[in-house]
């Protein structure tokens, strides 16, 4: 049996349900779970807004250091840090499940996952690189961004139950207890940068370059979308899943808030995908969910008297310079 899951807080339930619906349509035999970094008992969701999918709240999977993680991490860091803990939970509590696939909530699955299931017969772990060919302009995002944040995109990772998988998940969990931060100068970028090591540390890892996987703004320079009989193709092979990373319904004319290379003007081939996505998000009550605050995230501390602090620090900074 195969289980696919995503992770989000209540504010992203429109995305998660869009993913769930697309997955069910093409792969009815794959079980789908929404890992929820939030508390359903702390909000009163309107009756028609309760997702018809399995939801597994984070407090139900007993993460050892969870309270500490909540204190130290922001919403992005926290939502990514719990990923290996969900894998671990499914591996330990769902003996009937062999393959586990993680998708970011802002992904749509367009086709059967047969190719992936086949890969998992041979390999234990499948990851997708952000890019598999050079970027020759100087726009964002560029090669140096991927060097800073990770070669593989962690909006997707698939594993088969096995020795290497268990070793990898255990190692990843250990790393993310404290080092799931965004701190580029110290080599850290959430859960993702760590995965650079996976093909080096573990056996049976497939780095999947198939262009129909994890298509997103970062690899549009090497991927062309076409349509035939209502089906999407990427570089002439079937599109399996598209990742709408950084797309926001409040700015529907922007491909992604993280980049400046592609627009709907210079990339008319991607327009139908995004138009459909925008429709799905609003059908799935994006506006309703997006305003609900995550239970686990504390409001950021506001530092006061910044100027006074600076003046007081100045003599000591000068002293350090002098010696």
């Amino acid at each position: 049996m195969t289980l696919a899951f995503t992770i989000c807080s209540i504010n992203y339930l429109a995305q998660a349900q869009t993913l769930g619906q697309s997955l069910k349509e093409q792969n009815p035999d794959v079980e789908f779970v929404i890992g929820l970094v939030d508390r359903l008992d702390k909000v009163q969701l309107e009756a028609d807004k309760i997702p018809p999918f399995q939801m597994l709240e984070i407090d139900k999977i007993n993460i050892e250091n969870f309270e500490e993680m909540c204190l130290n991490y922001n919403i992005t860091e926290l939502n990514t840090a719990v990923k290996p803990f969900f894998f671990d939970y499914f591996l330990k509590n769902r003996a009937d499940i062999t393959n586990i696939i993680y998708f970011d909530p802002d992904i749509i699955v367009y086709d059967k996952l047969d190719k992936l299931q086949n890969s998992l017969l041979t390999y234990e772990i499948v990851v997708t690189p952000h890019i598999s060919s050079p970027i020759n302009d100087r726009l964002d995002t560029n090669e140096t961004d991927h060097l800073n944040t990770g070669l593989y995109n962690l909006g997707f990772i698939a594993v088969r139950r096995g020795e290497e998988t268990i070793k990898m998940i255990d190692w990843w969990k250990e790393k993310l207890k404290k080092d799931c931060r965004i701190d580029l100068c110290n080599g850290l970028f959430v859960d993702q940068h760590w995965i650079n090591f996976v093909p080096l540390f573990y056996k049976n890892v497939l780095v999947e370059k198939y262009p129909g996987y994890n298509v997103a703004y970062w690899n549009l320079h090497e991927r062309k979308v076409t349509q035939e009989n209502g089906k999407f193709f990427i570089n002439n092979v079937p599109l399996i899943f598209f990742h709408f990373s950084g797309y926001e319904l409040k700015k529907p004319e922007e491909v992604s808030k993280y980049q400046n290379r592609s627009s709907f003007e210079n990339r008319p081939d991607i327009v139908p995908l995004f138009r459909y996505y925008a429709q799905k998000l609003s059908d799935n009550f994006n506006e309703y969910y997006i305003q609900i605050k995550c239970f686990y995230i504390k409001p950021p501390k506001i530092k006061r008297y910044k100027r006074v602090r600076k003046v007081l620090q100045l003599p000591f900074k000068k002293l350090i310079e002098l010696i």
Binding site: L184, N196, F197, I323
Partner: protein, 330 residues
Amino acid sequence: MNSSLIYTICSANNLYQAFALGFSLKKTNPDYRFVIGLIDKKPQTDFEYPFSVISIDELHHAPFREMSERYSIIELNCACKPVFAKYFLNYFPNTELIYMDTDIWVMNNIDEIITNLVEKDYDIILTPHITRPIGDQEEWSEKNFLNAGLYNAGFFALKKTENTIKMLDWWENRLFDRGYLDYCKGMGADQLWLNFVPLFFEKVLVEYNPGYNLAYWNLNEREISLNPAGQYMADAGYPVKFFHFSGFSPEMPNLISRHLPKTQIQRYPVLKELFNEYQRVLLENHYYFFKGIVPAYGIYTPPAKPKGLVSKLIDKGSWKVINFIENFEV
């Protein structure tokens, strides 16, 4: 002579290491051509150069002047690796090329590298810094390699093919103005770029043989021993082919590397003799003559004087106060 060329790159102040590398090759792999690419003017000496040296001046590489004004000496040296690689593949008859950092010491026959290129048909060979997780007790951590790069750029091997030339063109282009050591901006000289090589190019071999490129960063994951024949072995069964004395100084022979100020050679007693020998060879190769030379190209920063105890205490104390003021909750 076989059809393979081994080259290294340095400024004049590291020529003593380049010579040591050359002599180690002469002893273990005498039929390889060895050339030193010098990112500098060739200094006048009262002894003969034991190996052929080609100065960057002889390459007439037009972008070099700009690079020299932009980069520190280490960045500049690193950025010239693909420049020399293309030069050798163009103007020398050799079809296989091995690059080694000057502080590498070859200890065994390396024909296997050429076999992998010629018979197994790989175009590019790289070695990973580490091949398994690093424990918490160590002085360095996996994080360091997320910044610095998965593969060590102190060694790579190439075969002349269209695919390889594409890789060298790409690398050279990136290193023209994105070869800084600036981790915050996703740059780690020439090395961090190598992360992309197995993704962008074909026929890349990531070589896991534990006998390759031993250095302070992977000593803890490899079992080193001496066999009865006096040969160094890694993980029983793999002869050590080459050792990378990264960060070693003959003036501090008890430190494995200046990057690990707390790790003494005593931790690896089996290596003591190897380090002694390497220290001796460096001194024999005019260490004191070369180390004082100020390189002609690249931005030179004189080595910082070590701080005295009093300065260290003031420094530490001041930072404590600054952080206290910063984090004081009102």
